[in-house]
Symmetry: C2
Subunit: 241 residues, 2 copies
């Protein structure tokens, strides 16, 4: 279901079997693309993965992702073979299309509350980006995590989605998987306080062992190696290929 | 269903009948809040509207909208009386909760495509904001409309949602309703070319007469008067009260 090296400028659009299964265009270290991988794997949807070099993008990428973004899900089995973009829209589509292992609750109110929570997570993705790309000091990162700590307490379950991971868990996990990068950059000012984030810490200990998470997992060291290569201007997309 | 003046700092949180119907916290000229009004009216959902002064926010706003944003939909009929925020999440909630006059298609693929289109509309809301708030020259505004012109052509229907307005139509309309403000600011460089945007022009002529749109409509002159009052630092929230 998964392919190897990242294809770049000058590459040939790979010929895939004419089997009608969706094709995910992805980048191995993109946290937004990871959301789509986790949803596909959670729901056991057969698919192909094509990894793309985002520094030197292949000329053919525009054919399957008009805005040249990943993740893009190319639905070759559908009439006119449309592509979907935007990680959350892709995940909701998969959840509606494939009933196995539902990610979002059925109740409209609970669905909306889960979507709002993931929307509020953009405070964390934004703060994380500031640290990782712009060398920010993380001042806005820690208070943003408090909201999720409080929410886990309010829900009173090991996962945001209950007794097993679901939409919220998988949509926010990719940034927690990359905490080691923030720790490396922030050094002494890194402050993941296990008392302040007691419930999130317990959640992290659990979710990292989840088989869906493990299906698309990179270690803290691998994320750090990737980040260093990018920082050095020689992004090693194929680190895990 | 709708209330008058915008409540500000020092105001008393209005006592409303204990009827269990949703309460929409809104600002009369906010295009994002308008999305929620249009969805409530399209689906004929009984509700109360409380208008809020966004310059000097009421102290009690935090109780119904923790991030002090509008629109916020306070579901007083639900257990624990939760509030929903984010215009699109509110609208999807209403569409799932109240079956009458569905806004989004039922087919997962078509739903996803409509959501992607509205997501892409953020290029227009962003470009509009640049013109209206920061005095931008609109260079990125016009090409963003091309996407919607092309999409109407592709769909081959008078509205984005078919023979009558639906999700895409109502979610993007509020910015078209405010075109006069862009025209006033851009002056000679305003360039709404009726040939280039032939299909959008026909759509505008139709949708402005729609009864749902008319249920929460302000004229070009009213939008302009509002914008001028805001620009002058004396926002006239109650222009239509």
């Amino acid at each position: 279901m998964s392919a190897g090296k990242h294809l770049g400028k000058g590459s040939v659009h790979p010929a895939l079997p004419d089997d009608g299964v969706p094709r995910l265009y992805s980048m191995r270290f993109c946290p937004f693309a990871e959301r789509a991988h986790l949803a596909l794997n959670a729901k056991k949807v057969p698919h192909h993965t094509i990894y793309v070099n985002l520094t030197e993008k292949p000329e053919w990428l525009v054919d399957v992702s008009p805005l040249l973004k990943v993740p893009a899900l190319h639905l070759v089995g559908e009439k006119a073979q449309p592509s979907l973009i935007e990680s959350l829209i892709i995940v909701e589509y998969l959840d509606e299309k494939y009933p196995e292992n539902p990610l979002l609750p059925k109740d409209p109110l609970k669905r909306a509350q889960d979507k709002i929570l993931v929307e509020r997570f953009s405070a964390i993705t934004g703060a994380f980006m500031k640290i990782v790309i712009h060398g920010g000091d993380g001042a806005d990162f820690w208070p943003a995590i408090d909201i999720f700590e409080a929410e886990l307490g309010k829900r009173g379950t090991p996962y945001f989605s209950g007794e097993k991971p679901g939409f919220v868990d998988y949509m926010i996990w990719p940034w927690f998987e990359r905490l080691a990068v923030a720790e490396f950059i922030l050094k002494e000012s890194y402050n993941f306080d296990k008392k302040r984030y007691a419930k999130i810490s317990a959640w992290l200990d659990l979710i990292v062992k989840d088989e869906v998470v493990q299906s698309h997992y990179a270690t803290p060291e691998q994320h750090l190696t990737y980040w260093k290569s990018r920082k050095a201007g020689q992004t090693n997309y194929d680190l895990l290929a």
